[in-house]
Amino acid sequence: MISSIVSKVKQKQIAQLVANRKRIDGRGLTDYREIKVEAGIIERAEGSARVLLGKTQVLVGVKIDIGEPFSDIPDQGVLTVNAELVPLASPTFEPGPPDENSIELARVVDRGIRESKAIGLEDLCITPGKKVFVVFIDVYVLNHDGNLIDASALAALAALLNTKIYNYELKDDEIIRKPGYKPLPIRNYPIAITFGKINNQLIVDPWLEEEQVMDARLTMTIDKEGNICSIQKGGSGYFTTQQILEAAKIAKERATELRKLVVET
């Protein structure tokens, strides 16, 4: 944790810049840092991707397993998202069970994928009520330089897009693996866009120093139709109604651009 004295000096500097519609790293208020996506880099995983968002680095691995469906939806596969704030990623990350930040990160990524119905879970049923495919999305933060939500959501989507499921045959309720794979059914492409509020101004893609001084955070996840499918406000400040509606408009535009980085259209 950066001491509050440092952050007060920095807060002033960053806030003054934002008032002049500038940022410390030279970006415009609604610009992203440079984004790189590397897909399929972990061979052992059924799907994987690494996203570099400026200096932020997130690796996502997808594992497919066989498990039981939820009792209220017996004919659908199961989606599980977990996030690890790995201690090597930041001096502020401690080893141990997931804290509220990593739980929130995982749940925001989860909601974007779930609510946009990105995965065709109904195609992942093997025997209704008994056996289904379970999709484990593990978000692994490797370097924390701000805006983990957008980097993780993008990496998760990129990883899902190269996720494969092995072919199988059912014999007396036993699953027998057959050669070859088919792709995981993907129906939608949710993109998370995160805003910070500094000096009563909205900025997109806050990096670490901006995160340390911003009053509040707002993430909107936009699906391929341009609809909003999930929102999360964070931080101990607030937003005005006008800011929320402005954020929704910007999010829709930025999501279209970011989607092109992982989906060929």
Binding site: I103, C229, K233, Y238
Partner: protein, 244 residues
């Protein structure tokens, strides 16, 4: 509970007979627990919520204390018997997330800088749940904070709007949340047009979202009036007790 055939009847009324933009019946009482510095109880439809505030008080463990302000800690917790199938009393990932967003919804209201090196603990217990418990929890917690005498910029009040069968509705109950198309919980300080919690899941167009936000805010303003009434009732009761 199984899926109802329809969430809206022919007249466009909801399962419990409400109109689209109608709140559930709401009841609040302030100062219900003798040990807490502040407390409140709320019923909103079948939701039953109890909140208590302890502090400002000494921080344990000590390293958590901040030199320039108080820390606000918040626990949102559901009783094992509050839902259809018994819920394990251990905090779930959902409860940990909600504790965080509720804390962040209350923080902007509290003058934490008045009480450096102290902690203010907010405990929210959901005794019975029927959808919209995070909102009910925030509404109740704000009353408990006020009852504890913690100075605030405004009361925080929360309400959800959402979409069922293509129509925007106010204050979703559990079945509507589960089988509807979208849920937008929102908390605000009505006096200063500050939105302190905003979440959403489901699917809404920009225009629908805009209208859902407007609708949730209208709901908040109605509940806000009830909050003020409940606080006033508490002060009158105290005044009478002193005069006796």
């Amino acid at each position: 509970m199984s899926k109802p055939e329809k969430l809206l009847d022919k007249k466009g009324l909801r399962l419990d007979g409400r109109k689209l933009d109608e709140l559930r019946p709401i009841k609040m009482e302030v100062g219900v627990l003798s040990n807490a510095d502040g407390s409140a109880y709320l019923e909103q439809g079948k939701n039953k919520v109890l909140a208590a505030v302890y502090g400002p008080k000494e921080v344990h463990p000590k390293h958590l204390a901040l030199a320039d302000r108080a820390i606000l800690r918040c626990r949102y917790h559901m009783a094992p018997f509050s839902v259809e199938e018994r819920k394990s009393p251990a905090p779930s990932r959902r409860e940990i997330e909600l504790s965080k967003v509720i804390r962040e919804a209350l923080e902007p209201a509290v003058f934490l800088e008045y009480y450096p090196r102290t902690a203010i603990d907010v405990f929210i217990e959901i005794l019975q749940a029927d959808g919209g418990t995070r909102c009910a929890g925030i509404t109740t917690a704000a009353l408990a904070l006020a009852d504890a005498g913690v100075p605030m910029r405004d009361l925080v009040v929360a309400c959800a709007a959402g979409k069922i069968e293509g129509k925007l509705v106010l204050d979703l109950m559990d079945l509507e949340d589960k089988y509807g198309e979208a849920d937008v919980p929102l908390a605000m300080m009505p006096g200063i047009n500050a939105v302190t919690l905003l979440q959403m899941d489901g699917s809404l167009t920009l225009e629908e979202f805009q209208n859902a936000v407007k609708m949730a805010m209208e709901g908040c303003k109605q509940i806000y009036e009830e909050q003020k009434k409940a606080l006033r009732a508490r002060y009158i009761a105290i005044k009478e007790a002193i005069n006796e």
